[in-house]
């Protein structure tokens, strides 16, 4: 047998013991769970095999748990933000559920996904944390008016866009005029005024996002 003659075992197989460790780490082809450890494992296994109802049940069961983790970690954020993050986590659980190995417990995988999305949510929201106003209800003075502050903010932001757009926004959004009069004032049609208004609001909201970051 010719190949027997030419074949020689590799003289220097580098670090043979390590090969075993690494090969085991690559053995990811098992199709079915060897022994599902519990309810969540059973549900997610069924879900990944295409059972939508099982996935819905899985998500419903993990929701309170994830919500609890978020509440504990994101104490400086409000309930609305908690719910936003929760939804981001649930979406990630769906998108990445193919990375769960059927023969491993679900929990470490799930918590790693949740932790990643929570950290990510913190990073993207930056330091702009929401503290519910109710917390300060006792200590805050009577609501005189928000206007000085709002007017200053609006003026600061309007100064960042071009003059004509700023005029339109001032006329329509602050003074409450309709598009026809506002357009007339700067010499454009009502339609053009609406378009200008729409574009300006888009720019303003992205400005606002940057300012609050």
């Amino acid at each position: 047998m010719a190949f027997m003659d030419t074949y020689a075992p590799p003289r220097h197989c580098p670090l043979p013991a390590i090969g075993g460790i690494l090969l085991r780490s690559l053995a990811d082809e098992r199709e079915v769970a060897l022994e599902p450890q519990g309810e969540w494992e059973r549900l997610l296994t069924a879900a990944n095999a295409g059972d939508g109802a099982a996935f819905a049940r899985f998500l419903m069961q993990i929701t309170p748990v994830i919500r609890g983790i978020i509440r504990a970690r994101a104490v400086t954020m409000g309930p609305d933000e908690h719910e936003d993050i929760l939804q981001e986590v649930l979406l990630a659980v769906h998108l990445k559920r193919g990375t769960w190995q059927g023969d491993r417990p679900v929990r470490p995988w799930l918590y790693a996904v949740a932790r990643h999305k929570i950290v990510d949510a913190f990073r993207r929201r930056g330091s702009a944390v929401h503290v519910p106003i109710e917390t300060f209800a006792e200590t805050l003075p009577e609501d005189r008016s928000d206007e000085p502050m709002a007017a200053r903010d609006a003026a600061a932001m309007l100064s960042q866009i071009d003059e004509r757009s700023a005029q339109i926004v001032r006329a329509i959004a602050i003074e409450g005029e309709n598009a026809e009069t506002a357009g007339e004032r700067v010499g454009i049609s009502a339609g053009a005024a609406r378009v200008t208004m729409h574009r300006a609001m888009k720019r303003l909201s992205s400005l606002a996002e940057r300012m609050t970051k």
């Binding site: 003289r11 220097h12 580098p14 670090l15 390590i18 090969g19 460790i21 690494l22 090969l23 780490s25 690559l26 053995a27 990811d28 082809e29 879900a47 990944n48 095999a49 295409g50 939508g52 109802a53 996935f55 819905a56 998500l59 419903m60 929701t63 609305d80 719910e83 929760l86 939804q87 649930l90 979406l91 990630a92 769906h94 998108l95 990445k96 559920r97 193919g98 990375t99 769960w100 190995q101 491993r104 470490p108 995988w109 918590y111 790693a112 996904v113 932790r115 990643h116 990510d120």
Partner: protein, 213 residues
């Protein structure tokens, strides 16, 4: 705020979506290995193996020129694949072993070389070819490999990218060593090392940008 999707709605719509395919890390690993191999074959086909290859590989030092990068790649690739699972912990310390061997070899050679000869030995004769080849050979596997890893769920995008870069660069270096004639460790540890480091950095940058989720 008014058009907020409730979490119940989200769960219902996620459950109605088809399950994403199971992540197969070994398939991604195989594609990276394939791309490195194609590049090496192309290089060796056009420029040729070193004429004394069979003889050279019997010298431990020359063998090390291929074996060290090869073991580095053999550790980095499965480790990179493992990071695609949020709950996995790749044995990164293993990478220290081939690096330690390389450093030991480097220092031992340096100790046995007259000081005045060291710069000349490091510079060798083929820096440009060596660096260009290793970097060029590793580029395609890095780009394709990192793009494929988007299917995974790494919680450490930069690390995953760096490991793919390391695996590709080290694999390319191991192949290039079959062509390269400069057998002095002062030369090959320096320049292979720099080539592999460039590949690792490229992978880290790509990973940082592409592997976020």
């Amino acid at each position: 705020m008014s058009h907020r999707q409730t979490t119940e709605d989200l769960i219902a719509s996620l459950a109605a979506m088809p399950a994403p395919p199971r992540l197969r890390m070994s398939r991604i690993a195989l594609q990276i290995v394939g791309l490195v191999a194609i590049g090496i074959f192309a290089l060796l086909f056009t420029t040729g193996l070193r004429p004394d290859l069979a003889e050279a590989l019997t010298t431990p030092i020359t063998l090390a020129k291929t074996a060290i990068p090869l073991s580095l790649a053999a550790i980095a690739l499965p480790a990179a694949m493992l990071t695609a699972r949020p709950d996995a912990h790749p044995p990164l310390w293993l990478l220290a072993l081939p690096i330690a061997v390389a450093v030991a070899l480097y220092l031992a050679t340096m100790a046995g070389t007259p000081v005045s000869m060291i710069p000349q030995r490091i510079i060798g004769v083929s820096i440009a070819t060596c660096l260009t080849s290793i970097t060029a050979l590793s580029l395609t596997p890095i780009i394709v490999g990192t793009a494929l890893m988007r299917r995974g769920a790494t919680t450490r995008p930069t690390l995953t990218g760096a490991l793919i870069g390391l695996a590709s660069g080290a694999g390319a270096a191991a192949g290039y060593a079959l062509h390269c004639l400069d057998d002095n460790p002062l030369f090959f540890v320096t320049w292979y090392g720099i080539g592999i480091a460039i590949a690792t950095a490229v992978g880290a940058i790509l990973g940082r940008h592409w592997l976020r989720w």
